[in-house]
Structure formats: structure tokens, C-alpha cells
Amino acid sequence: MDGIERLVRSVRTLGLALGVLALLFVAPSAGAQFLSGLTNVTLNATTITSLSIVIPSGSSVNFILLQGAPANGSTAAAITTSWNVNPGKTGAISLYGYFSTPSAALAGSIYNIASTYVEGRMTTGSPVAYTPFTQTNPVGPAGGSLLLFSETITGANKNKTRTDNLDVRINLTTSPAVPAGTYTGTLRIQARAL
């Protein structure tokens, strides 16, 4: 009887050993993948604040000067202002026109016309009546600029394009007589977001 029991025990032991071996060889072949822990990659995307202006028409304006009187420009300059800004960071968009040298807004060979005598009007903006380019603003030199419009930024207009007409005239009503000749100047237009 002892021999039989010993035999049965040996068979059990062998079976157990075979089972363990089967697990060792069979399990890896069925699940060859190894999974690591999770690591996160954070994706950050930012839309760059954009602000640009173009002058689709009227980038050259001609005047026939009138001594002691205003002379309107031959055409109004159309100014398109486009922006894409964050209303949480930008309060308003402002458009300015200025002359780099106010004392010589337009220059001739022997005489200069000061910005005092150059007036702008933007009926869809701030100066609805003709106003000289004599303001001091964040854009342009002191006494040589004019705020053309200022638009508050909200969620509704954070991404917008607007076009405004700028009327320009040279008003010599209070000017000394301007010598006969030709005069040329550059009116600079720039927008500011703040």
C-alpha cells in the first residue's frame, strides 16, 4: 500500500510541475505585450494676436491748394483694419494717423506745410469733423497725430475687420501765403491694441 501511495503522490507532484511549466511557456506566448505606466504630454496652442491695416484705395491724395481757404483731397483714403485679439488682454483697438515731422507734413523746395494745416475726418470714427493732425497720442510724434477711431474689444468683436474712409484736407485759412510750388508728404497710419 505504501508503494501505491508513494506512486500516487509522485504522479501528483509531476502533474503539478508540468502545470507550472505549462503556465511558464504558454502564458508569455499568449500575452506578449508589456504595458508601462501612463505619462501625459500636455498640448498647448496659442493663437497669436494679430493686428494689421491695409489701404485698399486712396493711398495717394492730391490737393490743389487755396490760399486762405481749405482744399479737399482728390479722394478719401479707405483704411481696412483687421484684428484677432484676446478680449481678456486687449481693451480696445485704436487707429492713428501721424506725420513723422509735424512741422513739415508736406515739404516743398523752399517751404514746408505744417501738420497744423492738415486736417482729417473719419465720419465712422472719432473725428467726425475735420480736425488737424496736432494731437499727441501713443503713436506718432508729439503734436503730430490724430486719433481716427477707438473700438472697445469684447467677445463679440474680438475677431473683426472694418473699413473706414479718411477724408483729408489742407486748410490754409489761418496760414501765411504758401509759395507757389508742389508739396509732398506722407501720412502714416498705424493701429494699436491695448
Partner: protein, 188 residues
């Protein structure tokens, strides 16, 4: 000043600096677009008779009769000295043979004399010149002024004395005679 005060001050400066930096960074400027402005001031030349536009004479046979008033002539110009050398003022009669007429008898410009003491004719001179303005033998140069950078813009006023000198004229029939003396300036 203790250490705490110093630290507070330094902290305030830092905060202020941070705020200033933030404000500066918040500003965004667009590109700059240019509008070219072209202006031209035309040359001008005008004359006007500011007083004395009607002159009366009581004719004197065989003698000179001065007008009762001297017309004041204002001449204004705005000229480019690079393009204009001088301004000249002329007086003339359109029909020299009939400077004044009553419809029957004519007084020729030969007997009408002018003087502009501030101009080219210091003494009375007949309107018998031939000039760039007016008909042949019917005008008188009153002044010529060279244009330079100094006087490129100017207004001047001159008095024109007139008389009708019948010293060498046939007897003029008794009548009322009327004529028009034209005044014109020229820049060249």
C-alpha cells in the same frame, strides 16, 4: 528705517515693475501704411484798382489837364522765382486812336499821359508804347519788378497819375468824352 520697511519698499518696487512690464507687453502695434499727399499751390497774379477807378478831367485846350484823382492799383502775386523773372504792370487802351470818345470825336492815346512815381514812369508819358500787353502804340509800362525768393509773394500798391495833355492837339470839340484805361500785369 528698519528691515521690514526696506523689504516692503523693495516688494513695492518689484510689483510696480512687474505691472509696468505687463502693460508694455500688452500693447500690440500694427504695421504702418502710408498715404502719400501731393499738393500744389498755383502761381497767382492779380491786379485791382482799390480807389480812383473813375477819373474826371476838365479838358484845357492846348494844355494839360490832370485827373481829379490818382487810381491806386494793387498788384499781388505768388510766383515761383525759378519760373518767373519779373512782374510788369501795363496800362493800355484797346483802341489807341480813340482812347476817349464822345461818339463823334476821338481823343487818341497820344494825348493821354500817365505817371507812376513808384514805378517805371517817373514823369508823365503818353500811352503810345508797344508792349507785350495791349495793342501797338497804345500802352504804357507802369512798373517792372524782378521776382526773387524775397518777393515771390508780394502785394504792392502804386498810384497812377493821369492827365490829358492837349498841348499838341487840335482843338477838341466841346463835349463829354469817355474812355477805358485797361490795367494788366504780366509775369514772365
Amino acid at each position: 528705517m528698519n528691515l521690514r520697511t526696506i523689504v516692503r519698499g523693495a516688494l513695492a518696487v518689484c510689483v510696480a515693475g512687474f505691472c509696468a512690464a505687463s502693460a508694455a507687453e500688452a500693447q500690440t502695434l500694427s504695421n504702418i501704411s502710408n498715404i502719400t499727399l501731393n499738393a500744389s499751390a498755383a502761381q497767382t497774379l492779380t491786379v485791382s484798382v482799390t480807389s480812383g477807378s473813375t477819373v474826371n478831367f476838365t479838358l484845357a485846350q492846348g494844355a494839360a489837364a490832370a485827373g481829379d484823382v490818382s487810381p491806386a492799383i494793387s498788384t499781388s502775386w505768388n510766383l515761383n522765382p525759378g519760373l518767373t523773372g519779373a512782374v510788369s504792370l501795363f496800362g493800355y487802351f484797346s483802341t489807341p486812336s480813340a482812347a476817349l470818345t464822345d461818339g463823334t470825336y476821338d481823343i487818341a492815346s497820344t494825348y493821354v499821359e500817365g505817371r507812376m512815381t513808384t514805378g517805371a514812369v517817373a514823369t508823365y508819358t503818353a500811352f503810345t508804347q508797344t508792349n507785350a500787353v495791349g495793342p501797338a502804340n497804345g500802352s504804357l509800362l507802369l512798373f517792372t519788378e524782378a521776382v526773387t525768393g524775397v518777393n515771390k509773394i508780394k502785394t504792392r500798391s502804386d498810384n497812377l497819375d493821369l492827365r490829358i495833355n492837349l498841348a499838341a492837339s487840335p482843338t477838341v470839340p466841346a463835349s463829354a468824352y469817355t474812355g477805358t484805361l485797361r490795367i494788366q500785369a504780366r509775369a514772365l
